[in-house]
């Protein structure tokens, strides 16, 4: 099944594929960031209740969605790495974790800066905020665990297991606003119903979501390539590649 995937278990092929995809995601990320930010900040109508403070949504919601999306991608990669012993999969987990950690930090930070004017508090210990904070600690734990071993095969295995076990937190974050009483509002777009947000406000939000997704892909690919080069640095193809470009 899916024989076309087999050559990509070879590091060099994956490195080359990542290099081919990288510029497309990079360009798309820049374009959609510029478009989404300009649209969201200057052209979307102000909220009838929250005024212009709601514009923080254009950073907060995409980064929060992606903080969970990135973790889920990591869990899938970790599962593949553990079950089929694909070491490139472990490298992908290591490459994704820092991006997810930054997204989680952004979601928490913009949430605080939005909470202060709207709720009157930078932080409250409610279910949504606390579970998202735990997600940040999980990311930091995966990064630290991966860097704690000099044997990277072992590091990938340990970090992969932590990633898989920690995934349980993702549905907890998502449903926290339904399971517990919270200050945080419910889902706006990530639900099986029509988004509860007006069209002129929704479009820039979707563009920002695209921007964060492409940024994730681009930076993940850069870090994935770095990871391959470090792990394969004694192989002839890496030497050839890096000495040619000198």
């Amino acid at each position: 099944m899916w024989k076309f995937l087999h050559p990509y278990a070879k590091a060099q092929r994956s490195y080359e594929l990542a290099g081919t995809l990288l510029p497309w995601f990079a360009v798309l990320a820049v374009v959609s960031f510029v478009l989404g930010t300009a649209w969201g900040l200057a052209f979307a109508p102000a909220d009838y209740q929250q005024g212009d403070s709601f514009r923080i949504i254009y950073i907060h919601v995409p980064s929060a969605i992606m903080s969970m999306g990135v973790y889920t991608s990591m869990a899938i990669a970790a599962l593949i790495g553990l079950v089929w012993q694909i070491r490139l999969s472990d490298m992908a987990v290591a490459a994704m974790a820092p991006v997810g950690a930054v997204f989680t930090f952004i979601a928490l930070f913009t949430g605080a800066a939005w909470g202060k004017p709207m709720w009157g508090a930078w932080w409250v210990w409610d279910a949504r905020l606390t579970s998202e904070l735990i997600l940040l600690f999980l990311y930091l734990g995966v990064i630290a665990l991966y860097n704690a071993f000099s044997d990277k095969a072992l590091a990938g295995k340990a970090a992969g297991i932590l990633t898989l076990v920690g995934w349980i937190n993702v549905p907890i974050i998502h449903f926290s606003v339904e399971w517990w009483n919270t200050l945080h509002q419910g889902a706006t777009i990530t639900k099986f119903a029509k988004p509860s947000i007006a069209g002129p406000m929704l479009w820039p939000l979707l563009i920002m979501l695209l921007a964060f997704t492409c940024y994730f892909a681009a930076v993940m690919l850069i870090r994935f390539r770095n990871e391959i080069l470090i792990r394969e640095s004694h192989r002839p193809w890496v030497k050839q590649l890096l000495l040619k470009s000198a």
């Binding site: 923080i56 930054v102 850069i222």
Partner: protein, 68 residues
């Protein structure tokens, strides 16, 4: 355009501090991660090149006859 003037836009309906803080810190974090990823890439390249150069020197030295 939702705002009548640049000053109006910068004021963000009185929420300037929170809105600009959010966007500023977020973009700073995104750019810092990108920069650090690219810096690592450069460092790997330099390390591999330095090691290859050293291997060359060792090889060249072993060709000489008047060595220990």
């Amino acid at each position: 355009m939702e705002f009548n003037s640049i000053a109006d836009f910068l004021d963000m309906g009185g929420y300037a501090f929170y809105v600009w803080l959010s966007f500023g810190v977020s973009f700073f974090a995104l750019i810092a991660l990108l920069a650090s990823s690219l810096r690592t890439q450069k460092k790997i390249k330099q390390t591999v090149q330095a090691r290859a150069a050293r291997d060359e020197r060792v090889k060249a030295a072993s060709q000489l006859e008047n060595t220990l």
